[in-house]
């Protein structure tokens, strides 16, 4: 029941926030803070009861939904979901705070969309029924689309179209794969169900398994984004309002990574192993590609967007390497990338609010006028390049040790990404904050912004210095995934039985 509330409070909060606009423009903001705060408070009992053994769920909720086709409302949390839900609520709170002065028009509707997106994301992280998962997967798209389309920057219409079409196309392919899996399972066992635990053991012929896995990969690969499926990302991130970019980079990309770990690998272990080499290659290529393109950007926000492609390449690499170390690295990378990139987007947003431009060529020596912002930017820039002592270092290090065991050459190449990231991060700091100061003297960041950035800095440091706190929480889920990956669905009885007609 608790977890159902967790999903539905933002939904209700969104409606209330929209209606509250009539009372004044700050009302929707407070309503959103209150709704998210309520959700955070509700996480406390869940937090104290994290299961430490494999395959155990806490705060489980199960109810009938469409019983005629075997779909149920089944929500539950394990260690990995818990970390991601906390990240969602935290970044949700941050996005409300960072749009406090940026969003001045249609405030109610803005917060409505914000909260509904968050609700969809929480649903994705907790759904244990594949149809319900798809439902939430699609639910978060429409409000996100509106966030970009209404409150975005100059080229928002194009960007929002592209975002929507890409994600929807991937999603529909996943739906077809889900349905196919459902019918194969039904044919084998006679039970019509979309339940995650039930579908796990489905026997698939190698060809069918590969096709279905690719269907899932279409949806997750677009979101992560995997190289070649990434072209929507720079546009959407650049054109979205700050809060939208924070949610896109911090959370939406994580839903893809989460899907990879939770659904793709355990459901199709054979196909995932077979695809591993390609997946790791795409990941490694993405790391380098994102880093090189980031370096070439003139638009500050676009630069940060390309760093996302690079960082998320590590997730792809780690997920397909598939051992416990690399998978733990993935989870850590999801958290640290969400925090550090989110913070960088907030800084870019704050700069744009002051200078009305994102063009790096027109920025110089901002440290003089904004020392506090400069300090924060340096910190998050260093975090992004993976300086030891910060969360990103732990994450990328874990992924690299994990993948080293699987493929030495790819790991060596991927490590080059660390150098490239140092180049673009330092180059960005150098160009924007150092050099001769421009004539403008924009005001330094406000108290609110300081608190926002400070609150994002602390977890990065904490996770960097004491990574074990988070690793312990997710370890049981990761063990289960790694176990599933090694499991064979090789007791496949031969062609003809079990495939589709």
């Amino acid at each position: 029941m608790l977890i159902l509330l967790l999903v539905s409070i933002p939904i209700i909060g969104g409606i209330v926030a929209w209606a509250a606009e009539k009372a004044g423009t700050s009302w929707p903001r407070w309503v959103s803070i209150f709704a998210l705060g309520l959700d955070i408070i509700m996480m406390i009992p869940v937090l104290s009861a994290i299961p430490h053994s494999r395959g155990v769920w806490s705060a489980e909720f199960r109810a009938e939904w469409i019983s005629a086709i075997g779909a149920s409302i089944h929500l539950a949390i394990d260690g990995m979901s818990l970390l991601l839900v906390i990240l969602t609520l935290f970044l949700g709170m941050i996005s409300v705070l960072c749009s406090w002065t940026e969003i001045r028009e249609r405030v109610g509707f803005f917060h409505f969309n914000l909260l509904w997106t968050l609700s969809g994301i929480i649903g994705v992280f907790t759904a244990l029924d594949l149809l319900l998962f798809y439902f939430f997967w699609e639910l978060m798209l429409i409000p996100m689309y509106l966030l970009i389309n209404i409150w975005g920057h100059e080229n928002r219409v194009y960007a929002s179209y592209k975002f929507f079409i890409f994600t929807q196309a991937g999603g529909l392919l996943m739906l077809v794969a889900i349905l196919a899996l459902y019918f194969i399972h039904k044919e084998q066992t006679g039970a019509a169900t979309f339940g995650y635990a039930d579908l796990l053991g489905t026997r698939l012929s190698p060809e069918t398994g590969m096709l279905l896995m690719l269907g899932f990969f279409a949806a997750f690969g677009v979101k992560i984004p995997a190289l070649f499926l990434h072209t929507w990302l720079p546009d959407a991130h650049t054109e979205a309002p700050t809060a939208g970019s924070v949610i896109l980079a911090g959370l939406l990309l994580k839903t893809g990574a989460y899907g990879l770990l939770r659904f793709l690998i355990p459901l199709f272990p054979d196909a995932a192993r077979e695809f591993a080499a390609v997946g790791m290659l795409i990941g490694t290529a993405g790391i380098l590609y994102g880093a090189v393109l980031a370096f070439a950007q003139k638009d500050l926000k676009r630069l940060v967007a390309y760093t996302s492609i690079s960082h998320m390449g590590f997730v792809l690499l780690g997920a397909f390497a598939g051992n416990e170390l690399s998978l733990q690295g993935c989870v850590m990378q999801m958290l640290s990338h969400g925090l550090s990139t989110g913070a960088l987007f907030i800084i870019v947003g704050a700069i744009q609010e002051r200078l009305h431009t994102r063009d790096i060529g027109r920025m110089s020596g901002l440290w003089q006028a904004m020392p506090r912002m400069g300090g924060f930017a340096l910190f998050f820039g260093l975090a992004s390049l993976g300086l030891p002592g910060m969360a990103n270092f732990i994450a990328e290090f874990l992924v690299l040790i994990g993948s080293f065991r699987v493929s030495v050459p790819l790991t060596v190449i991927a490590s080059l990404g660390l150098i490239a990231s140092a180049v673009y991060s330092l180059w960005m700091i150098q160009r924007v904050f150092h050099g001769s100061p421009s004539h403008e003297t924009p005001p330094d960041i406000s108290f609110r912004e300081t608190m926002v950035l400070l609150s994002m800095m602390l977890p990065i440091l904490w996770l960097g210095l004491f990574p074990q706190t988070a690793l312990r929480v997710s370890s049981s889920s990761i063990e289960a995934i790694a176990q599933h990956r090694l499991s064979h669905s090789m007791d496949y009885p031969g062609p003809g039985s079990g495939g589709l007609r």
Partner: protein, 473 residues
């Protein structure tokens, strides 16, 4: 004909009877509000009687008509849609400089025709139903005589529909000539005893052509955009819901009851029609500047998706078809209802520009219209999602991969078209339409939106109701 059999026909008798009452009332005194109230009462009475005859199912009436579960479902959809169409017609007609009352007469007659069609089990009732439906639609399309477009729509539909009726008759004649029977069951028996001769196949193809025309399947879709654009919005709402439901009902009954589903080549014909409709509909929808035309092309694509439910052979296929039709009826009534409620006496609110900034000037109306667009696109929370999910599921379950993959591609393409409309509503410029929405319209639209979300979020009651009815055969 026994009393029970007459009782089973009561819903059709009610709509027909109310048509006569409305006719008499018009000839005595023209009163728009009374006529409209009487029509709504007529539909309400028919729906109530439908509820009353539920225990009689399934029952065969005179060999022409069979009142069974599927017929019951489609008649419910038809009567409900007729009721909604007459309710949204009231405010719309109030703003026109025309005689208003005959429109309701046509609505009742067409609904009677569609009901007969959904329960037809014989060529006679098949033809009678489809003609009663079509002839009323000619007049409804051309109803606003002050608008040349409306007359054009009526004439266009009249001519093409007459040709398709000729095809239908010729096809029926061929089948009759070969088998010597006109009842669907008799044809099935004749088919079983001998192989399908070329004449039977030719007759069948002619019937498919005719039905394809009525459903606006590609390549028989050429009338759709012009009729949707020219006909008054309430009439289009009616065409998109009632006419599609009735024709699809008779198509699926004829297809299965006459045993044609067992002929491989017929399936291939339907697959090609479906795939062509999906792509023609979704691609041409992209080019439209007129929302009614856009929805016409969207309906072509949707009828293509619906054919998956017709061809799939799994347990849930028949259910998927019925629920798809129900969801589509709610959605198109809502969409055309919004257009009707925004329209003035000068013309329908059907250009894309008419919707500019609607989200800011009229948030609720825009919310309804936006929800309908998302439902057409098949996005979650809306009825369209459940419809598309079930149809895709029955397609995947039967391995109809060509159609399922076409459905995916075509859905992505048509997203552009629906998003364009949504985007237009969120543009910041002021809206150009300013007339107020009548209270009746806002109630009707509110109810439609609620049912859209009810079906979309918690479809279990609807599915179990449909399942229990389909079992009654």
């Amino acid at each position: 004909m026994t009393t029970t059999q007459v009782t089973a026909l009561l819903p059709m008798i009610a709509t027909g009877g109310f048509a006569v009452v409305v006719l008499l009332l018009i000839s005595i005194k023209r009163m728009h509000s009374l006529t409209s109230a009487l029509t709504i009462a007529g539909f309400g009475a028919a729906l109530f009687l439908l509820f009353y005859i539920r225990p009689l199912l399934p029952i065969d009436v005179t060999g022409l008509i069979v009142m069974d579960g599927p017929a019951y479902i489609y008649i419910t959809i038809i009567l409900g849609s007729g009721l909604v169409a007459s309710a949204i017609g009231y405010g719309y007609l109030e703003r026109q400089d025309e005689h208003k009352e005959e429109f309701y007469l046509l609505l009742l007659l067409a609904s009677t025709g569609a009901s007969v069609l959904s329960a037809a089990s014989h060529f006679a009732s098949f033809f009678l139903g489809i003609e009663l439906l079509s002839v009323s639609i000619y007049a409804m399309s051309a109803y606003i005589t002050a608008r040349p477009r409306s007359i054009e729509a009526g004439v266009k539909y009249l001519i093409l529909s007459a040709v398709s009726s000729a095809f239908l008759l010729f096809g029926m004649a061929l089948l009759y000539g070969e088998t010597g029977v006109m009842g669907f069951a008799g044809i099935a028996e004749a088919l079983r005893s001998g192989s399908a001769s070329p004449a039977i196949l030719a007759g069948l193809v002619m019937i498919i052509v005719s039905v394809g025309f009525k459903l606006a399947l590609a390549p028989f879709h050429l009338w759709a955009a012009d009729v949707y654009e020219g006909a008054p919005a309430p009439a289009v709402a009616f065409i998109a819901s009632v006419s599609k439901a009735g024709v699809f009902a008779v198509l699926s009954r004829f297809y299965f009851a006459s045993g044609f589903h067992s002929i491989q080549d017929v399936g291939v014909i339907f697959i090609s029609l479906a795939v062509a409709s999906m792509f023609v509909g979704s691609l041409l929808a992209l080019l439209q500047e007129n929302v009614k035309r856009l929805l016409a092309y969207s309906s072509i694509a949707h009828m293509g998706y619906l054919l998956i439910a017709l061809l799939a052979r799994g347990d849930g296929a028949e259910r998927s078809g019925a629920i798809y039709i129900a969801a589509y009826a709610v959605t198109s009534l809502g969409a055309f209802g919004v257009i009707a409620s925004l329209s003035t006496g000068r013309g329908d609110a059907d250009r894309l520009g008419d919707f500019r900034g609607l989200a800011w000037s009229r948030p609720w109306t825009a919310a309804v219209f936006g929800a309908m667009m998302l439902s057409l696109a098949g996005l979650p929370l809306t009825a369209g999602f459940i419809g598309k999910l079930l149809v895709a599921a029955s397609g995947v379950g039967d391995g109809l991969w060509t159609m399922v993959i076409s459905l995916v591609i075509s859905s992505v393409i048509s997203l552009f078209a629906y998003l364009r409309v949504v985007m237009e509503m969120f543009r910041t410029e002021e809206a150009s339409f300013v007339n107020g929405i009548t209270p009746l319209d806002s109630y009707v639209l509110g109810i439609l939106m609620l049912s859209l979300f009810m079906i979309g979020v918690y479809p279990a009651p609807l599915i179990s109701a449909v399942d229990s009815l389909i079992a009654l055969k």
